[in-house]
């Protein structure tokens, strides 16, 4: 049964000449799990708003064509911070019911039921602003479900979350779809998390549908057009020119076992110990004002010119360690020293952007340090591929571009040591690879880089050395290949797929050790 239908839809935001969506035809069936993919600015969020009727009802604008929907729709947004309005979780979930005038007795039942369904009963009396990002997103989903909408539209709900929280949200969506028959439209640019759950995939390009079909057809199409929208496991088999393209690690492993011989690989990139130190932490301890211990006796050396990745679960003390390295926090115990100018990029690029143009943003940093160097600004803009954006207001740029402007504004102070906190959060694979290439350039120029991230693929790509933190302590440190190989959680999808066979971390490494059975060997 069809629950939503649009025919020849074109939509313009108010005061915009260029349509955000153009000539779209789309039918959504009851109980379907539809993934909407595409690059930043391709119209994914606009499509979500059209389906949920926020556009044009809330946004205004001009709409042409036909849109028919038979269901009430619940919407969940990207940023968990900006969609919660009440103080406690229970009241937040009840809020949409109150708005619809639902009777009190029924309301109570529906709130309690949905809290139990999503396993967040224990959060009932908590303040919404005290929740973690994943918990906030679960509360937002609960609020959308409480009104008994059996049709959910989610706009990149996991892009701001760590992998564990993202997995939990995806499992909830899967459960809602499989067990309860909910219709789900999930907007997502990183397809590795959701492709295996999807019944169909819509790929948008410049406001038009470039592809619509089932996931196995999608991966073939994406392989031909843009590998940045393929999960790493699928991309490996695309590169190996396999006829079968797996969507999950399990499918990939089965394919390797049945069709390929795997040669043992040498462990990753060679790692050379740096001769001199760029930064040291000696038995550093740190406690917050309320007495919560964040770091306990952390000892860590960062060599000059090396790229170090700090990984670990939420609350392990990664960001605190980075802020101590940056000099933003004073250790309660021990000593932290940096031997060179330190630049710090926080998780939120918007915190950097307030000037009228990209160029002025870089100039602002240099003025503060009284070291104006226009040549350096030109060089940074060129290296980060931002020359064409130099006169644009940074707030008008996409998420990935804002991230680059923030990075550029830090680089403008010519730091010797660069500290990056979650630099890939919210970035698609294309942007990530460009960032990795740029960090490689900086490394070649002798810069020391320390990054905190949940993104194991990125660590494998750019880091010489990695540190796993757990409960405010360093659990393990060593060359990246050693730290990530064979890990259960802190490793890449590619490494998981080859578990017990070999230890590649990156697609390129895996590609080099796979030989098709019967092809005569490498």
């Amino acid at each position: 049964m069809e629950v939503f239908n649009m025919e020849n839809l074109t939509y313009h935001y108010p005061n915009k000449d260029r349509p955000a969506l153009s000539r779209l035809d789309l039918k959504i069936h009851d109980g379907e799990f539809l993934v909407v993919a595409g690059a930043s600015g391709s119209g994914k969020s606009t499509l979500a708003r059209i389906i949920s009727r926020l556009a044009p009802e809330f946004y205004g604008g001009k709409i042409e064509g036909r849109v028919n929907g038979t269901r009430d729709i619940g919407m969940v947004f990207q940023d968990p911070e900006k969609q919660l309005v009440m103080e406690t979780v229970e009241r937040e979930v009840a809020f949409p019911l109150e708005n619809r005038g639902v009777e009190r007795k029924l309301m109570k039942k529906q709130v309690l039921e949905v809290l139990s369904l999503l396993g967040i009963w224990h959060l009932k009396d908590k303040k919404t602003y005290e929740l973690s990002g994943g918990e906030k997103q679960k509360v937002a989903i609960a609020a959308a479900l409480a009104v008994r909408n059996r049709f959910l539209v989610l706009d990149e709900p996991v892009s701001q979350l760590d992998p564990m929280a993202a997995d939990e949200i995806m499992h909830i969506l899967k459960k809602l779809n499989d067990d309860l028959g909910f219709t789900i439209v999930l907007v997502e640019q990183r397809t590795e998390k959701c492709l295996s759950y999807a019944d169909r995939v819509v790929f948008l390009d410049n406001g038009e549908i470039a592809f619509i079909g089932k996931p196995p057809e999608y991966v073939k199409w994406a392989g031909r057009h843009d590998c940045n929208f393929l999960p790493p496991v699928t991309e490996l088999f695309w590169r190996l020119e396999s006829n079968n393209l797996p969507l999950t690690v399990k499918q990939g492993r089965e394919l390797i076992n049945s069709n390929y011989d795997v040669a043992a690989n040498a462990l990753g990139k060679p790692f050379l110990t740096a001769k001199s130190k760029a930064m040291t932490l000696k038995k550093v301890g740190f406690s917050f004002g309320d007495g919560t211990m964040a770091l306990s006796s952390v000892t860590l050396d960062v060599g000059k010119g090396e790229t170090l990745g700090i990984i670990g679960a939420n609350g392990a003390g990664k960001s605190t360690a980075l802020r101590i390295m940056a000099g933003l926090l004073k250790p309660s115990k021990g000593k932290a020293e940096a031997y060179g100018a330190v630049g710090y990029l926080s998780q939120e690029p918007n915190d950097y952007l307030f000037n009228d143009t990209v160029y002025e943003e870089l100039l602002f940093t240099q003025k503060n340090f009284e070291k104006i160097d226009c040549d350096l600004i030109e060089e940074i803009l060129c290296d980060l591929d931002m020359e064409s954006k130099r006169n644009i207001n940074p707030r008008d740029l996409s998420g990935g571009e804002r991230q680059r402007v923030a990075l550029a504004s830090v680089l403008a102070m010519k730091p010797q040591i660069l500290l990056l906190d979650e630099p890939t959060r919210g970035l698609n694979k294309g942007y990530k690879m460009r960032l990795a290439a740029y960090l490689g350039n900086l490394k070649r120029k002798g810069k020391t880089i320390v990054l905190v991230t949940h993104d194991m693929e990125f660590v494998a790509e750019v880091c010489d050395r990695a540190v796993i933190m757990f409960d405010g302590q360093v659990a393990q440190e060593g060359p990246t290949s050693e730290i990530l190989s064979g890990g259960l959680h802190f490793t890449t999808d590619i490494n998981r797929m080859f578990h017990g066979m070999a230890s590649p971390l990156r697609i390129e490494e895996a590609e080099g050790i796979c030989v098709k059975k019967g092809s005569g060997g490498p």
Partner: protein, 303 residues
């Protein structure tokens, strides 16, 4: 202290009507009374109350703020106000002109310091004694849109605090010096930080409005999740509160709480001591009433 703890622990989720009346009475007690003994008593009681509500840690911060602003008031007020008979110090300064510092103006400044702290404590206590969602839910029956705006503002204050902290760190790392220099230099240094926070808040407000709309806000008649009726406990509390209110306003009406600072320091009435006994008794009645009606909650506690 233990008694207070019991009383105010019970009050932790006051009925919104009680909470509003309590707020009104305490603000009146702060602003309408000029008797320094009464003001000092009020500050002491409020400080203990805030501490009993679990706000002891925040009390330290408030105390710092109070001491700094208190010293400023004690310095500035006697310089501006030249009334009073008992002159302590007299001089002529360039620009400022003739300076005449009197005991009366110093005493009046002392009262202002007490009032300031009392107001801060009243607001703190109010915040601690209500369930905000319940309070706003109760008010929203009568002024829905205003209440939602207030609720979102309260919610945003916490987020803004986190955001300001984050942005100031980022700006400090970009070489912005927020700590040194004079007032003009520091104000100029804060400008980029404030601009970032304002722009982000504006962007955030559109997202919030969108979230509100998607949740059906303003699309029809609302219902209310929690029934906020008056229990026997609330009624007892209300009666005690009313008795205290009557005693308080009776004292105001009769002038027993009056006090003159100028031209010379003197109480306005001879009966103020008797009244203070009555005032203290009514407060004790309020406390005892709330203790009794909440006793079941704390039956394991011993005084």
């Amino acid at each position: 202290m233990l008694l207070l703890r019991k009383v105010f622990a019970m009050c932790h989720k006051l009925h919104p009507a009680n909470a509003m009346l309590l707020l009104a009475v305490l603000i009146s007690a702060t602003l309408l009374v000029s008797h320094p003994v009464h003001s000092a008593l009020l500050v002491s009681v409020l400080s203990f109350s805030v501490a009993a509500f679990g706000g002891a840690g925040e009390l330290k911060g408030l105390l710092k703020f109070w001491i700094v602003t208190g010293i400023m008031i004690l310095i500035i007020n006697p310089l501006v106000s030249t009334q009073g008979h008992t002159v302590l110090f007299r001089t002529v300064l360039p620009i400022a002109g003739r300076i005449r510092i009197t005991v009366e103006s110093l005493a009046f400044a002392g009262l202002m310091v007490l009032r300031l702290f009392s107001m801060v404590l009243v607001i703190k206590l109010f915040g601690l004694s209500i369930d905000r969602d319940d309070f706003f839910g109760y008010l929203s029956r009568y002024m829905n849109k205003l209440v939602l705006t207030m609720s979102m503002t309260v919610n945003m204050i916490h987020r803004l605090r986190v955001e300001i902290q984050r942005v100031s760190e980022v700006m400090a790392m970009r070489g912005l010096d927020l700590k040194s220099g004079g007032l003009v230099k520091r104000t100029r240094a804060y400008y980029p930080m404030i601009k970032v926070v304002l722009i982000s808040s504006l962007e955030g407000s559109v997202n919030r409005a969108e979230a509100l709309y998607s949740r059906g806000y303003g699309k029809g008649k609302r219902s209310f999740y929690r029934e906020i009726g008056m229990t026997g406990k609330d009624r007892l509390h209300m009666v005690a509160l009313c008795i205290y209110t009557i005693v308080f306003f009776w004292g105001i009406y009769k002038g027993w709480l009056g006090f003159s600072f100028f031209p010379a320091i003197s109480p306005k009435s001879d009966f103020s001591l008797i009244y203070f006994v009555a005032h203290a008794t009514s407060l004790a009645v309020l406390i005892e009433a709330t203790r009794r009606c909440s006793a079941w909650k704390f039956s394991t506690w011993k005084i």
